[in-house]
Amino acid sequence: MPMSTTVRNATSRPKSIVVEALARVEGEGGLTVQLRGGRVADVKLRIYEPPRFFEAFLRGRSFRELPDITARICGICPVAYQMSAVHAIEAACGVAVGGPLRELRRLLYCGEWIESHALHVYLLHAPDFLGYPSAIHMAADHAEVVKKALELKKIGNDLVALVGGREIHPINVRCGGFYRVPTRRELLGLAERLKRACELSLEAVSFAAGLEFPDFEQDYEFVALRHPDEYPLNEGRIVSNRGLDVPVSAYEEHFIEEHVPHANALHSVHKGHGAYHVGPLARYSLNFDRLGTPAQEAARAAGLGPTCNNPFKSIVVRAVELVFACHEALRIVEQYQPPERPFVELEPREATGHGASEAPRGLLYHRYAIGADGLVRSAKIVPPTAQNQKTIENDLWHFVPTLLDLGKEEMTWRCEQAIRNYDPCISCATHFLKLDLRRD
């Protein structure tokens, strides 16, 4: 390599960053950054979470089992898997679920966003900004912050448990609706706590906005769902800031997965465009006008514009989404009228259905082909972290050169922080991470 001749200047500096096993992410992965002559020569986000073969063993299962089985892809965002699955199956069966059942699904999803975002903002990401190895260490100096984080997270979990039966791997979701729907009184029981959650979410925005951010803006292609009149959770068209606007069923015409040797996850690219970015920054930048007044005002007060291209500020955007989710959940709870039946009956037919929803980490796409016997013929699942993997590597290509004056330990930590910007879920992406930084 031509750069190798200038290596002498860099001898006192690290030649490589190796993170054997990334912490505060869901699942197993590592990072290797190769430096050569003070320049970045290679970046590989390694996913060594062992493969579990969901798409293979779903074949031959009944479509009715999909919400239960696909939930097991991820213990942090099982609702996202359940929602993308039921929408895909309902599309295959030609059924649309509306009214209170649709509202209950949105409520359940709000619960998962609250639980997952509160976990990431405070317990997984904030320690990087404040210089602690974990939230447990952070609690020694910031006990009130951690207690409020746990309080907010618990409200999200309690919401998922009430609508879904339990926090992790909810049991109450079925194709067509739910097994049992809550009474009006049961939901109203949460109203006071959701009002408290709204206050806590505004505090989360102030907290996140007060952190220090590297000056690091990137020119991303953002991809997210967009709905005519809602901030996207379960439904919408797939849109980007570079002109893409297609129905969910056209996803595979525009995005492809590539298998690379260093990862048991598949890298996604937008055909003809390359890497793209899904998750809170993408949703926010494409749907600011749909956020509602409290979240928009909180965003402005935090110094955010209608778009955000600094991945480190994803922690602020997540907090803004907490404001949205808490207010949306409160609205649904206050307006809820139980449906006559807890579900819409589905009749299987030979068909293919597509579903996409907004997991806390970004767009989650499912496609199933089923037969008239209700058995799954083929399955395809594209999780958000697989879609972001190439973008995370691109960020590191641009971010590492700003770190070259730092010592290895500090450099490694900053790289980990840059990865945690994406709240990567490695269990999901392996159908994901170790930092292995090398300098020649």
């Binding site: 239960d68 089985i69 951690v146 339990r166 109450n172």
Partner: protein
Amino acid sequence: MAARPKLAVFKFASCDGCQLSLLDCEDELLAVVGQVEIANFLEASREVQKGPYDVALVEGSITTSHDAERIQQVRKQSRFLVTIGACATAGGIQALRNFKDVREFTSAVYATPEYVSTLDASTPISQHVRVDFELRGCPISKHQLVEVLGAFLCKRRPNIPSYSVCLECKRRGTVCVMTAAGTPCLGPVTQAGCGALCPSYQRGCFGCFGPSEAPNTAALGSWWEKQLGASRPELVRAFRSFNAYAAPFRMASDAYEHDRS
């Protein structure tokens, strides 16, 4: 004052849900942290202390030769080893590969199967090393997790029942969904622990906590077939989910697949 016991959490093939249960103990987390020293918990902290550890929680199943070696190291460093969840205790949902050809599975999911290294079977931790306590569930119950940690700290046996879900239904006063509504339910052969959640939501149990002590799977299967009109393939699928590779469920699904009963 004596040093606090060192706790470590290790992950193998899994969804992260069971270790998340520890972070989901919002009311108990800071109290637990006061009693033990969290020495190695990558999902929550980038600080990793070296072993040995007093108690290790192991999540996930063994699916690669690398992990088969890693669990040996975990065992050597851990005084008391607890498996948490269906993956670590029974092989998990990914043990569905054990009934099929894993090479075909790899080529069905990955364009370049030669990049993937995996074993033919997903196996529970107990098949590789001695396990001191197995905590069931997909996911585990956080209350049972707190009970196991509390029992360990107090040097007593954990109070985790091995009877079936039926007893939990009776205790909470849930009307039997199988006899009253004709809904197929695995409750009679499934270990308690969830609090009989599904029947309270008007659906049948689907076996998250694995086989109860001495389960009569043949009697249940016969009831499903004769009284509820379930087909053999439906029975195979019912026994073949998150605890498919636990012996009583494995034998039941094999029998129904090959039409022996």
